[in-house]
């Protein structure tokens, strides 16, 4: 099915099931611990061996010698594969860091060996017996140094005349900001069971957000025909972008299975999540804004740097500045600096999460300089077109309504406007807000549906990383076919199924449901053909047409009917700016003596097209705001700038928000539909919640204390000296 123009009025506008609050169809499996995760698939891969990786203990250099003799003869060990045993494996384009093989070390905890043994304990103990010698070379690990050295930054785009605009402006801002490197820190580590026993067909039960990309990636790595590779990833304990591509777990498990002729399972140990897998790069950002006295922005000048291994793209923090607010002149530049830290790559709202964390502080600072209310300042500078290309209009943008609704519900007009002047006992109380923008891309998505005896089975390689894909796909299928939720079974995350968008870039919900809709329409065609009818309606579990009124269960006398299709998103979308928007409002308490900062309440008002399921969508925004809280207050991969790694590589040292950090959170969805996005008029919400949230907290802290912090995480040591105490 082609999606070549904006959706008109359609069946989803009269929805019975779509848009309604259905609890998760996989919820019972999750809470009873019976959803089978990759590392536990002993039902399909019997009696697997266990692999345990060894990571490099230097950041940069060469391995000069490895001796695994002792490890090989250790109790329970079946095989040891070292990096020197094989040539460097080819890398898919999407992977930046080396996966395995060869003597070159590019980053700390790069996998340099795997021990395969009968038990985890045996494998782990034997890794410690491998002797390794290195020739270390100095590396680059300090982003601030790089920022200072940086002369001319690559200008990504320049519209108008920024320098002239700054000269003419009544009010200007020019500040430097820092964001920290962050870890996805998902609960389930990267984990895989691989079966490559015959050396020909490779099956992986793994934890991966993108089935088809990863299947193609494995084909490149192992130089084999993708037809011989099968991936299953039906349940995923969180990904946040950390599981978009193939990582060491899959590669080492596959190598181990080929070597031993047995299924092998590998889970990355927790420290590997931080230094072996990927993370979000920290940034240094300089942001300048120019405005007229009346508050109209005339120019943005935003430059940023982030780190990457050579060949990667880092964390592009300037992108949203090109389109979020009005203003004729703008210049943005992002520089990805080659550094020798582990691979930086996508993490939830890559770019926007860190860019908005800064832009939205700057907007607050600018509003203050102008003597304007920060909500009013944003409303004044709203735009309905992409300001860089004014002919490109926003398909459906209700940012102003988000701001207005949020201000009203939060009680913004009542707030104390003098920073540092509201105190309750030893706590300083402040309120702040920020805007949020995140693009709403879509990807072609396919699905296959089987109807038999009135039951519908949906198959697509779409994944559910805890987001609710199972549920919204069941809703889409039930809605389209006129069935009930209980008539539908959804099967996901298997490379044997038609390929869909996967989970990433908040495109899964709109894309994958579109594919399921297309497949259901194909099925309807098959049913019509079978019955020799036309223009049938599918409702109340029946197919109804002139002269026909039949229960779906009776359509083919128990025979299976199959429909399969892919929804192709047309080029017309490129002429539009399609995005999601939100406004966050936050109240914080900052301890006047110690600087401890605690959230008191948050409100997020979102404009994200049709909300397919308010329960699962709300969870996404809550989770995003929770992650933004971590980014604002505690989360930082600290860098040892001499040794070149993240030393706080466990969940005690890398502090994500815990329950006690999260107070009452409220989410409001505007009742909007965006026909340009997809047939269901839906957009994503998975990444919107993390955008802007950190800045809302920063601005509330400023309102509480009168101390402006521009560096994340905003820990107490950054302001202690300036707090009032008594």
């Amino acid at each position: 099915m082609d999606f070549n123009q904006s959706a008109d009025e359609n069946l989803f506008d009269r929805a019975r099931i779509i848009g309604k609050p259905h609890t998760r169809v996989d919820g019972a499996l999750k809470v009873t611990g019976t959803a089978p995760y990759a590392y536990e698939r002993h039902d399909v891969a019997e009696n697997p061996l266990v692999g345990y990786p060894l990571g490099s203990s230097i950041a940069k250099g060469r391995i000069t010698r490895m001796d695994a003799t002792a490890a090989r003869s250790a109790e329970g060990v079946v095989a040891v594969i070292t990096a020197l045993d094989i040539d460097e494996l080819p890398r898919p384009e999407s992977n930046v860091a080396k996966l395995f093989g060869g003597d070159i070390v590019e980053h700390y905890h790069q996998a340099i060996a795997v021990v395969i043994a009968g038990t985890l304990e045996q494998a782990r103990a034997a890794t410690r017996l491998i002797e390794v010698e290195y020739e270390e070379t100095p590396g680059e690990f300090d982003l601030d140094d790089a920022w200072k050295r940086l002369q001319d930054r690559d200008v990504v785009s320049h519209v108008g005349d920024v320098d002239a605009a700054f000269e003419r402006a009544d009010v200007t801002l020019d500040e430097i900001y820092h964001t920290s490197s962050q870890s996805h820190a998902m609960m389930e580590p990267h984990a895989t069971i691989a079966d490559w026993c015959d050396g020909k067909n490779l099956t992986l039960w793994t934890s991966n957000q993108m089935i088809e990309w990863s299947r193609q990636g494995l084909a490149t790595i192992f130089e084999m025909d993708p037809e011989h590779i099968r991936l299953e990833s039906p349940y995923i304990g969180g990904g946040f972008g950390g599981k978009l591509w193939v990582r060491a777990d899959a590669v080492l498990a596959a190598l181990g299975s080929r070597e031993t002729g047995r299924p092998v399972k590998v889970a990355l140990p927790r420290p590997f999540i931080f230094n072996n897998a990927t993370h979000r790069s920290g940034t240094v950002q300089r942001l300048r804004i120019a405005a007229n006295k009346d508050g109209r922005i005339t120019a943005f000048d935003h430059s940023a740097i982030s780190h990457t291994l050579p060949g990667g793209s880092g964390e592009d923090a300037v992108n949203q500045t090109r389109c979020f607010y009005a203003g004729e002149n703008r210049r943005v530049a992002h520089h990805a600096i080659d550094m020798n830290l582990p691979e930086s790559a996508d993490m939830r709202a890559p770019g926007e999460a860190t860019g908005l964390a800064v832009l939205e502080i700057a907007m607050d600072e600018m509003a203050e300089k102008l003597g304007m209310d920060p909500v009013e300042f944003r409303i004044l500078n709203d735009t309905q077109v992409n300001p860089e290309e004014p002919e490109k209009r926003y398909s459906d943008r209700h940012f102003v309504e988000c701001l207005q609704k949020g201000a009203e519900v939060f009680g913004w007009s009542e707030r104390n406007k003098t920073p540092g002047s509201r105190r309750e006992g030893q706590w300083l109380i402040g309120q702040g807000m920020a805007g949020a923008y995140r693009g709403a891309p879509t990807l072609d998505s396919g699905a296959r549906v089987h109807l038999q005896n009135g039951r519908l089975i949906v198959e697509t390689d779409m994944t559910d990383i805890g987001t609710g894909s199972y549920t919204i796909i069941a809703q889409t299928a039930a809605e389209t076919m006129g069935l009930e939720m209980s008539d539908v079974d959804v099967r996901l995350g298997n490379s044997a199924y038609p390929s869909a968008s996967g989970s990433g870039g908040q495109m899964g919900a709109a894309s994958s449901t579109a594919g399921v809709y297309a497949a259901c329409v194909a099925l309807q065609g098959e049913i019509e053909k079978r019955l020799g009818i036309e223009s049938a309606r599918f409702e109340n579990g029946r197919v109804v047409a002139a002269g026909t009124d039949l229960a779906l269960g009776e359509v083919a006398n128990g025979e299976e009917i199959v429909g399969e299709d892919t929804l192709h998103f047309g080029d017309f979308k490129d002429e539009l700016e399609i995005g999601t928007f939100a406004a966050h409002f936050v109240e914080v308490a900052v301890h006047a003596y110690t600087g401890e900062t605690r959230l008191r309440r948050t409100l997020s008002v979102c404009d994200a097209g049709r909300i397919l399921n308010p329960i699962t969508a709300r969870s996404q925004v809550l989770g995003g705001m929770t992650m933004a809280t971590g980014a604002a207050l505690t989360e930082s991969l600290n860098i040892d700038t001499a040794r070149g790694f993240f030393p706080n590589h466990d969940l005690a040292g890398y502090e994500i928000a815990v329950h006690a950090d999260i107070p009452d959170q409220e989410v409001i969805f505007l009742d909007t539909q965006d026909g340009a996005s997809a047939p269901l008029k839906a957009k994503g919400v998975g990444e919107l919640g993390i955008c802007g949230g950190a800045a809302a907290i920063a601005n509330a802290m400023y309102n509480a204390t009168g101390i402006r912090l521009r560096d994340y995480p905003m820990t107490l040591d950054r302001m202690l000296d300036r707090l009032p105490g008594a």
């Binding site: 109790e75 301890h591 040794r643 030393p647 005690a652 040292g653 329950h659 950090d661």
Partner: protein
Amino acid sequence: MKAFSYERIDDAAQAAARAFEVPGSKFIAGGTNLLDLMKHEIEVPAHLIDINGTGLDDIVETDEGGLRIGALVSNTALGADERIRRDYPVLSRALFSGASSQLRNKASTGGNLLQRTRCPYFYDPAMPCNKREPGAGCAALDDGADTRQLGVIGTSDHCIATHPSDMAVALRVLDAEVETISPEGQTRRLTLDEFYPLPGDTPEVESALEPGEIITGVVLPAPVGGRQRYYKVRDRASYAFALVSVALVETDDGKGRVALGGVAPKPWRRDDADAELGNGAQAVMAKLLDGARPTEENAYKLTLAERTLAALLAKE
């Protein structure tokens, strides 16, 4: 994890004797610290002696009007004990500010005292660490190291790690004593100051215990009364080790005692600092933190300690 042998011994004196006899022995109580360290091969005991059956899990009154806490009393049971909550509230508060309820259910009084540092380099076997491997060097003291959590006082040129226990800080302010039994069956009592040595050039030595010696309990003197507070400052609201913690006992005559956690290799207290309590937080810290040697990254702990005490002393 290295392979090890395991046995259960249900008598403290016998356990001590056995530990002395078998090379590479370690006691295991709740296992919440030891097992994590064994998985990383930071601890590699050849033999584990499980002491959970020794019956050291009572809290009984002493002739002096205090309490004797068995070494195996869990952190949960101790913190919730009515007598502790009434007469030693600083201890109860310190316990409940630590770890999580699941961990506190397993964690024992003896094990808590002997939990090891949370220095990130100690936890990474690829890094040089004098505590893990005497003479290897200290990664935390090298340029560019991540030291925000580490110690500012009582540290040495060989190790700047802190002792992470909250409970021990409260015990220190309460003048508690650790009671032990040796492999020969001798018992002795040590103040917390005596129990915890400073690192000097032997940071691997973390207690005064002799080989085989086992902790049987902790003795609290008769209640000291006063206003008792424990203020633990950390980046997130729960489930994190202290950046700085302050245990305070303040009596009506303006006198009292102060101990600090999160700043030193042991719970940190000085008599001459206690004596300054009537003169405010700054005067106390001038004594208590005299001789501090912070890094650039953790110098904030000096200010934070003073601020935290000031918050406790403020009448608001």
